[in-house]
Symmetry: D2
Subunit: 355 residues, 4 copies
């Protein structure tokens, strides 16, 4: 019988439950031997939904009572560093959800510790495992649209994130929790790091939805000059309410490539000629990136089994965090920020409460 990778899930919330379900239902080469969450009811629900037997309230407890080869970390950002360091210290491979950490120092800690302990580190940028985006990356690399000159990406999420995630003092806000994906996508598809960034934000729904954190924003444009000379733009809207929307357009010297679509199913109906054609939209990210979530976990497991390097590394996670910090500083200071300003700053994120 084939060897299975044993996994401990750290976090049983929305994303933890998504990954747990994926592993249980579609990944025969892995098995969940521990599920960890400090919140009892969430722990019970996800365990039941995914038929997981071993439930624990902390990684420490799980380490004590269960056996596993790897951890999947889906807890809040501010816990990433400590959990990753503890896991790496135990020789466990790490799948880490985005954003990697709150700041660059935490990223450095994670990268160094995983390297020192010889464990794998894969970041949860699932677009890197999405068939549409993967084919796009490959075809851009192959030169199909010529040298890339401009990229536009968007991530519009339907619901308001939890309070800790929409407050820049505890999570770096939407740029971190939502736009991280876009920062990584731009680096990946354009084959270039970001040189400088300018961000505009707007707040239209905060008050009525109870998001009262200072500097809360629900609409955002980030405009970038890349080191290659190309331009990048991201739009972020969260909560957008109308569905989950993640698309990209890349312009090259020879042509244009459109990646993704809003249509969530090939099923169009019309019953009223004054209304017109009606087609499902992707309601939430698990629908849009169903294959990506399966593929990224399979890739992680495959890398463990074959001792290969994952396709999204800590270095990629760190660059996305740098983009988040530069972008946040840009809208706070109302000017374009060079990434090197962030890398060279003594305190690159003074807005963080506990920093």
């Amino acid at each position: 019988m084939r060897r299975q990778v044993r996994i401990c899930m750290l976090g049983a919330g929305r994303v933890g439950r998504l990954h747990s379900g994926t592993i249980t239902r579609y990944v025969p080469e892995a098995t969940i031997t521990a599920l960890v969450d400090p919140a009892d009811s969430i722990l019970e629900e996800t365990a039941k939904d995914c038929a997981i037997e071993n439930k624990y309230s902390s990684l420490e407890e799980a380490l004590d009572k269960a056996s596993f080869d790897a951890v999947v970390i889906t807890t809040p950002t501010f816990t990433h560093r400590d959990l990753a360091l503890l896991a790496a210290g135990q020789g466990l491979h790490i799948f880490l959800e985005k954003p990697m950490a709150l700041n660059l120092a935490e990223c450095d800690d994670i990268i160094e510790t995983t390297e020192k302990n010889g464990v794998l580190l894969q970041m949860g940028f699932m677009r890197r495992s999405d068939p549409d985006f993967m084919a796009a990356a490959e075809r851009i690399r192959a030169g199909e649209i010529g040298e890339p000159t401009m990229i536009k990406t968007l991530t519009h999420g339907p619901g308001l994130p939890p309070a800790w995630a929409n407050d820049i003092r505890t999570s770096n806000g939407m740029l971190a929790e939502v736009t991280s994906h876009d920062f990584d996508t731009i680096r990946w598809l354009m084959g270039s790091n970001i040189e400088r960034i300018y961000v505009e934000t707007a707040n239209f729904k905060g008050e009525e939805r109870g998001a009262t954190a200072k500097h809360f924003y629900d609409n955002m444009f980030a405009t970038m000059k890349l080191e290659s000379g190309a331009l990048g733009n991201i739009s972020g809207v969260c909560p957008c309410d109308y569905g989950y929307d993640a698309r990209a357009e890349v312009i090259g010297k020879k042509g244009i490539m459109l990646i993704g679509e809003m249509k969530g199913q090939a099923l169009t109906v019309t019953i009223d000629r004054d209304q017109g054609l009606v087609t499902p939209i992707f309601r939430r990210w698990p629908e849009r990136f169903a294959w990506a979530y399966i593929n990224e976990i399979k890739h992680f497991v495959e890398c463990i089994l074959t001792e290969s390097t994952p396709r999204v590394t800590g270095e990629d996670g760190r660059w996305a965090v740098a983009g988040v910090l530069a972008g946040t500083r840009s809208f706070l200071e109302e000017r374009p920020i060079y990434l090197k300003e962030v890398f060279e700053a003594e305190d690159p994120a003074p807005w963080l409460a506990g920093d």
Copy 2:
């Protein structure tokens, strides 16, 4: 100043009004010098809408009081032959709406009389002037998809036609009033005449909509073997209520071509993730074939000014009528009918009341 073709409109109803508006608004090279309709209120409305001064209740009256070079005939099918013969006898060029006539003898009369009098005869198969369909025809001819092996066309019309038009005894019904277009499209795009035809019909809405004629049907499939050996299929639905729908697919030995779409405007909205994306549909045929209606009238006028032969002739009209008669006979006799059976029949349409 440029010479203008003077036109007498015969019929001020829906289609007459559409053509009148087209000429008035978009065809500087023509001018309407007479509008004819026996129904006063319809005559007045269309005259007002299109700023036409000269209104008459009959072609005879118009001939007596106005001057024109051509007629556009949009009256009911059963009047086509007599009007066409009268106009041709006066040396007037003729634009004739589909279906050409009730039976083949009437078609022959029209063809012979126009030829004898040296006047132009153009049939109102507007798809022949539609940019999508024209490009399709050209690209099929050029061999892009290889020898055509199969075609599927559809015309689904939103509303119930008037009583005379949905009774096979007075108009040959939907096959004539709606499907005529498809018969012509198939001959044109496939470059082949029809050899035999099998028709199935269904009646789902007749009773509730007051269409009580015997043999009334609102859903229809026509399946054909063409002389070239290729196959053809038409679907007809009228009233379909959901909008106006006219599309085609052509399969060739090398590939497939899709012509037309349901989307009526490039404007997509979503405000509810449970509903999804909403896009306008073409509500009625004037929207779907807006350019085709302009183009076909301009083509007619251009043919008159340059003494050229129109791109849709009486022969094309006659073949469509033959398809209508064979198709009607097929569903009445529940068997495939060869076109030659229609051409050779003493009475090819015994169901016609006055035939």
Copy 3:
């Protein structure tokens, strides 16, 4: 640890390999404990591709040497009856690829034997497990488009099937090997059996591709009257070369529903304004129905684990075979055939060589 259903794969060819790969990669709740194929090289290839250890040349050998709870039959049609009877006799649950069998008597044998032995029988009509088609069925049932009045489906397959599958004497030809899916889809979506059927065929590529069987055809239209009074039409093209194409349109009294699309990936590129926009098409059926293939096997396994009845039964398989036989007879006799003619015939398929 969760109980796994042990499966013996009968057939290691294209479809057998597809199902084997699906089970191995995406179905943790099942495991393949035997792979059977008389052709050594095919057996080796699929076993290697799917990491299957136990390989046998016959079901008898597998029964002797391995343990399993169920069989997945993907062998040629003419072997279905005997394999199914042998498996059922051993108490094995059966997943059976379409078409069910060569004729109604074989279908009856399979249905009776599985019932007598109390084993499950699921037909491989994967559209019944496709998210698009399933949502369509549900929404039609819920009345969204009103009473269904007309359905059009198509299956166009890219490649020429093997010789036994394109010869009506050994397999009932395209109607069986390709169009079976459409017959089932129509019954399922329309909620009605077929009353009569008329089929036209054409042969454009046979000679040049070496398909020399008498009555070979590569283009086909089947037009049906259903018992409900609604109409149905199927187009079949095989080989169509241009990709894999499976779509449907359902018209109801209130509206229209379009199911499926040709676009195989949300990735559009243009690099030449004279060519335009280029988007991937589904190349083969495994791409188009990726989720359906996973879902149908998961459903089969779930039914075994929970002792439930599969959603596609032997009765469904038998009706599709009846459609195949009536359709074949229709184009041979050039007339519409009532299904009851098939059910009441002494020899419903006299064209079968060994019948």
Copy 4:
């Protein structure tokens, strides 16, 4: 007979020829009584193409020898002010192509002079007359997507503009010649003026195409904060080579609206399953905005005939010029620029050669 507006065309180049053709072919309510261009060959070509008899080398000559009620100005930007003032002084109504002028002082001169002379002034922002964009504006105003919070527009033009138009010293460059449309669209659809703007540019093709002007750029992002608090983003690419591309997305508190599409014709072909589906793209702007060009001229003529105010005024033109100047200053100074900085500057465009 209906009264016709007599028009003098100023400029017989690409845009002048487009408008001349539109009037000649689709606008019976107007007639071209003079065509003016200093370049003989261009004058001859356009006159021949549009069957215009009276040709002149200057407006002065045309005023001397011909009679007309209005002028359509399509000459280079730097000539707009003087031509508009001369025409207005003669009591002629003015249709003026975008951009309105080189700077705000010229805009003021034009607005004041037309007002003083009581002549109409309509700006050539054809999107205001495009059916898709008009329906979008109406539906946004009606509140369908809620209060608008974000807009993204793009104009990507296929070819390199003439030297005077890609040099910021003679024309303000791409922001003026291409992006003017987007500035107007944003103000119009969002119902708000721009408060500040940040622009990033890149130059990828200049050298190889012979565009050697200092500060030449062919890729551009403009990010804006509007007075309403909403955000705006424009992408500009020229030359993009792949076709003509003009689309917009508007996000509101309740939903999203997508305006326009790349597909230029409803005609999809596939003949190679490795390539996929191929659909025409809009090759040039006259194809994309065919109806808009007809509608805007008809609107201008209608306004003259009915003494109404055009839907796009000099004020709209002036705001777009202000956006151009602020945007240009932004990328030169590498910082966001407030529009009020432009309005209050002594020399708002110091980069202009003759300013």
